[in-house]
């Protein structure tokens, strides 16, 4: 492993760690104002939606995003599994099987 790779890993690790840890230290020593609590209460649903939708789109610099059709197709049975079972594991397994089948028939 070259120094270039090692230094990159160490510095990338440092900025990631700071992103994770500094907010904990800040919140610990701060009385969180009511509006911020209200704002942050939407983080879970907002960020999970954003992560999910990102996986359904494909980025093309300078153009409108395209659609990741394989992920969109596989999401449908996964969502149905969620509604029917309310089980995280069932959603994941259904989605993976759906994607494997899509690949098998050449749609993935």
């Amino acid at each position: 492993m070259t120094n270039y790779v090692l230094v990159t890993i160490l510095l990338s690790g440092l900025v990631t760690w700071l992103s994770r840890v500094v907010p904990f230290a800040v919140i610990k020593n701060l009385t969180v104002p009511k509006w911020l609590i209200s704002f942050l209460s939407f983080v879970p649903v907002a960020i999970m939606t954003a992560i999910f939708v990102e996986s359904l789109l494909t980025y093309h610099a300078g153009h409108w995003p395209g659609f990741n059709l394989a992920n969109i197709y596989a999401s449908i049975p996964a969502i149905l599994a969620g509604i029917l079972t309310k089980s995280l594991l069932a959603v994941v397994i259904t989605g993976v099987i759906a994607m494997a089948l899509l690949r098998l028939v050449g749609l993935g």
């Binding site: 492993m1 994770r20 840890v21 904990f24 919140i27 996964a78 994607m99």
Partner: protein
């Protein structure tokens, strides 16, 4: 998932998310292998950086010989959503020591954050360090092992996505998002659905101008602001 916040229940609750770590971890190891990174470099990256999408970017930028400063800046931007998640979850650990807070934050991921937010809905809005530590540590170890195994298998498997494992992460967020919407009693279903629709539309427009990881952060911030505006005031 139940109301129990023991170390053991943390181990149990994290299991469904592990498929995602294994699928993406194997894929990352294989990509690293084809990019001529050593097993040691992959292991160190997984232990020190510990961030799925950022590690893919780092590998491709290393392969392209990008300057260290550019790689580090990209990593920071991709992972900046961690700031939002850490801010959000840290409220539940205010009474714990600083060392405990730092330990909890150090291994927080998208997945264990989302899992914790689901857990809150079962526990009258309580979290315990031992529960999150259990989930964090298992996720951390599984990720490191999966990436190393992927790197070792790299020569044998050419198409890691053949078995659909790359969808495990998407599937997991579908499950966590759905469970979040139906179990979070602190907000009306209507308010939550409005935020979901707003963020989805925002993502589409933002990805006209920004790569997914940056669009994601902006859309989430806008979504939180939108949520504040549309939720009934008390």
């Amino acid at each position: 998932m139940d109301a129990s916040l023991t170390f053991k229940s943390g181990l149990k609750d994290v299991v469904p998310t592990l498929f995602g770590y294994i699928g993406v971890g194997l894929a990352m190891g294989i990509v690293a292998n084809t990019s001529h990174l050593s097993v040691l470099a992959v292991l160190l990256m997984s232990l020190i950086v510990y961030a799925g999408s950022a590690q893919f970017i780092i590998i491709s930028m290393l392969l392209a010989g990008s300057p260290v400063s550019a790689i580090v800046l990209s990593t920071f931007l991709i992972n900046s959503r961690m700031i939002l998640m850490s801010l959000s979850i840290a409220q539940y650990f205010k009474k714990e020591s600083l060392a405990q807070n730092i330990a909890l934050g150090s291994l927080l991921t998208d997945e264990t954050f989302a899992l914790s937010m689901n857990k809150l809905n079962q526990t009258h809005h309580q979290l315990r360090p031992r529960w999150l530590h259990a989930a964090n540590i298992i996720a951390y170890l599984v990720w490191a092992v999966a990436t190393v195994v992927g790197c070792l298998l790299g020569n044998l498997i050419t198409d890691p996505n053949q078995f659909g494992l790359d969808f495990a992460v998407v599937g997991m967020f579908i499950g966590l998002l759905y469970l979040q919407i139906i179990t979070d009693r602190s907000k009306s279903l209507k308010t939550q659905l409005l935020v979901v629709i707003f963020v989805a539309i925002a993502m589409f427009f933002l990805m006209r101008f920004f790569p997914g990881n940056i669009a994601l952060l902006i859309a989430a911030l806008l979504g939180c602001g939108f949520g504040m505006v549309v939720s009934p005031h008390d």
